[in-house]
């Protein structure tokens, strides 16, 4: 064996094209080339613009929760671009392959749906929601940072290492064909030799380690870092959902880690956890995977519920209807989510009585979720509604999410599930929950909090355009799948039989392209807004007539968030302060503030984790050993560092705070009808 383990020049994706210049290989090579060119372009831009130093000292080594949050969101968006492209290619293949072979091999198609699913869950949804919680939650509870800023950065680095592994797999070697859930025995060594499944195992494991640490960090932050007077039942609803999601992360990621590591032991060391013989039990893999997988669904959706709660309340100009019931519903969902995992494998052969118990438990979750929908509707009743992008997406979410929920209740019935299991009906159902629920929630959050993060709004018209492309695209892409599923179309098929599938598949392809176009418009919107940021600037920090503490800060907020930790005596404290006319009052006195100092430990650990994972995939054992040693050394060395904070002098805090507030106090308040115009500089005229 060479020093590079199993790695060989022929593993490069381009070598595959040279061996076999087919369309199938051309698509793979083009994707690989695109990844390489993207990376090279990024390096060139960083070098030409001289951004390496600011990137390193301002971002990669920063422990500021706001910057870490933004980096998470950027990671999620980059990966999202790849996942959309894959979805479009898959639908195009299915269109081209009606009764014919199509242009992709089944093996390549398998890689596409595996990476699409893995990326969307672990490297789009999780980074987006983690990033937004990271940015928003400490601001909402009146804290200066999370409890463990370094752990926060390490979580990001681990997630990024996992994402990097996925990107590298585009160029070096092949990815798994086992789907995002990676069921053995197919993914075992006997049926999937080679590096594909190993790439999947280590990418997912890194991501799950990062999420465990994140969950712990957020939960402790919410428990211990709330500002004076911020009782649990005064927390904004987004923070509540962040808390429940964090608790789910703490408890639900461990089964995934165990399942992937057991699969790795099967593959690398000949163990028999999930093998087809020698006492292995592959059904236990499904059991372990969904012990994680089902709570994961709620990890994904709960923060979006929090976003929607903020959006409906803010853009209706009203307090949230049924706050307490929303909190209780969130807690119920969190606990119930641990009692329903079996509904992912109703057809695996256990007794009908067990199926019935889990089916009923599954239907029960519909109850608290229904409570939420009514609360959101009632929040809008008699509100002064403003259709900004987040609320447009929100109304659409309410309508479509209910449809998805109803099909979920259908699938919760084991007898129905036997007929629809693994069909396109299921694919339609979970996309119906996750696209309008989670993804649109995250895009609503990006539109909502972008001005807070960067100091300027996103262009409204382009936002509306991209929202409508997404909304129409979603309907076209997934509603036909319900019908296709009932017509017998199965998921994960490179080819569907000729016949009645054609027209509906064509609509689905159109939908996928519309979603891709919506994303392109979103990118255009970002670019346009950055170019014209002066016109869109909201330096006073409150563009939407916000209600919670984060809107009391300038946009972007200073590193220390709050010059003086706020004290609250009710919910929606900033709204009350604006009505009382004391929102921009100056603090009596200032103190030195201690903030975490930058640290290179997180990028070092991320690099070490990547090295270990890459070494494991290609059996480069010296690299594995080196990476593990480097990680251990970094952790131990860090524990000997004594200066982990730096002090920001009170005078500087005073200067920044008074500089902002003195301008904000005299700024002209913007009425809500001018919200989407240049008159909105981030000082809101309170609505009585």
């Amino acid at each position: 064996m060479t020093p590079f383990g199993l790695l060989d020049w022929s593993d490069l994706v381009f070598a595959g094209f040279l061996r076999d210049p087919s369309v199938n290989e051309a698509v793979a090579s083009a994707a690989g080339a695109f990844a390489v060119l993207g990376a090279v372009a990024a390096l060139v831009v960083l070098t030409v613009k001289g951004w390496w130093r600011p990137l390193w000292s301002g971002w990669l080594t920063s422990l500021d929760h706001k910057r870490i949050g933004i980096m998470y969101v950027v990671l999620g968006l980059v990966m999202f671009a790849r996942a959309i492209a894959e979805a479009s290619v898959m639908r195009a293949q299915q269109m081209a392959a009606l009764g014919e072979p199509g242009f992709l091999s089944a093996e390549h198609f398998g890689q596409l749906f595996t990476t699409h699913g893995t990326i969307m869950i672990f490297f789009v949804a999780m980074p987006l929601l983690t990033g937004i919680i990271n940015f928003v939650m400490p601001l909402q509870i009146g804290a200066r940072d999370v409890t463990f800023p370094l752990v926060n950065a390490v979580s990001l680095a681990l997630t990024a290492a996992g994402a990097a592994l996925l990107m590298v797999s585009l160029v070096v070697g092949r990815f798994s064909t086992g789907g995002w859930s990676g069921y053995p025995p197919f993914t075992g060594a006997a049926f999937s030799p080679g590096e594909g499944v190993d790439y999947w195992i280590w990418a997912v494991t890194l991501s799950s380690l990062g999420s465990t640490l994140t969950g712990m960090n957020f939960a402790v932050t919410i428990y211990k870092e709330r500002c004076p007077g911020m009782h649990l039942f005064r927390m904004p609803l987004f923070t509540w959902t962040a808390l429940c999601t964090s608790i789910l992360m703490i408890f639900a990621m461990a089964p995934l880690t165990v399942a992937t590591l057991m699969l790795a032991l099967d593959r690398y060391a000949g163990f028999h956890f999930f093998t087809a013989g020698s006492g292995g039990d592959m059904m236990n893999y499904a059991n372990l995977f969904w012990l994680f997988g089902h709570p994961e669904v709620y990890i994904l959706i709960l923060p979006a519920f929090g976003v929607w709660s903020e959006v409906f309340s803010t853009f209706s100009g009203k307090t949230l209807y049924g706050y307490t019931s929303l909190v209780i519903a969130t807690m119920c969902i969190a606990v119930l989510s641990f009692t329903v995992w079996l509904h992912h494998f109703f057809t695996m052969g256990q007794a009908a009585s067990i199926n019935a118990v889990f089916g009923v438990a599954t239907m029960l979750i519909g109850v608290p979720t229904g409570v939420k929908v009514y609360d959101w509707l009632l929040t809008m009743v008699r509100g002064r509604i403003r259709f900004r992008v987040p609320l447009i997406l929100g109304c659409y979410f309410l309508a479509t999410f209910v449809i998805g929920g109803l099909t979920g209740v259908l699938l919760a019935n084991p007898t129905v599930d036997y007929g629809t299991h693994n069909s396109l009906f299921l694919v339609a159902h979970f996309h119906n929950m996750l696209i309008p629920g989670l993804l649109f929630g995250m895009f609503a959050a990006i539109h909502f909090w972008f001005p807070k993060a960067f100091g300027f709004r996103l262009h409204e018209g382009l936002g509306v355009l991209s929202a409508f492309l997404w909304m129409g695209g979603f309907l076209c892409a997934f509603m036909p799948l319900y019908a296709l599923g009932l017509m017998g179309g199965m998921r994960r098929m490179a080819q569907l039989p000729e016949g009645p599938f054609g027209p509906l598949l064509a609509v689905a392809l159109l939908g996928a392209l519309m979603i891709a176009a919506g994303f392109a418009v979103f990118v255009l919107q970002l670019w346009w807004s950055v170019r014209h940021r002066d016109r869109l600037a909201v330096p006073h920090g409150d563009p939407w007539d916000g209600r919670t503490l984060e809107w009391a800060l300038p946009a972007p907020p200073p590193e220390w968030n709050f010059a003086v930790l706020p004290e609250v005596d009710r919910r929606d404290p900033f709204d009350a302060a604006k009505l009382a006319g004391i929102a921009y009052a100056l603090p009596d006195r200032y103190e030195d503030i201690e903030m975490p100092a930058n640290s290179a430990v997180a990028p070092a650990l991320g690099a070490a984790a990547f090295a270990v994972a890459f070494g494991l995939v290609w059996h480069i054992w010296w690299l594995v050993a080196f990476g593990l040693a480097a990680a251990l050394a970094a952790i131990v060395a860090r524990s000997f560092v004594t200066e982990t904070t730096r002090t920001i002098p009170a005078a500087h805090v005073r200067q920044v705070t008074e500089g902002w507030r003195s301008i904000a106090r005299v700024a002209t308040p913007c009425p809500r009808r001018a919200e989407a115009t240049g008159a909105n500089r981030g000082r809101a005229r309170p609505q009585q």
């Binding site: 089964p255 012990l291 641990f338």
Partner: protein
Amino acid sequence: MTKGIPVSEDEGLRAELRSYAIGGILSLALTGAAFWLVASRALSLRTTLLVLGGLAIVQIAAQLRFFLHIDLRKSHRDDLQLILFTALIIGLMIGGTIWILFNQHARM
């Protein structure tokens, strides 16, 4: 062990030492009982398994109480809740897994 806050440091030290000593003796006794039960085969298989499980739970509770100082006092409720919630989740996971896998196995 005294319920309130110890008055002096010496008293506190003695109280805590006593607590550790009780915990140590208790865990030795419980371990001894469990091993004796298995070595002697004094009870039927089913009863033995049940008693062993009970002894383990008592011993885990003793570790938490005497070594990790988790108790029922009101000010300690945060961590008690954390542990109880964890116990609930663990119970769901272990109980559910055993239920499902044994049922599947029986029907194979």
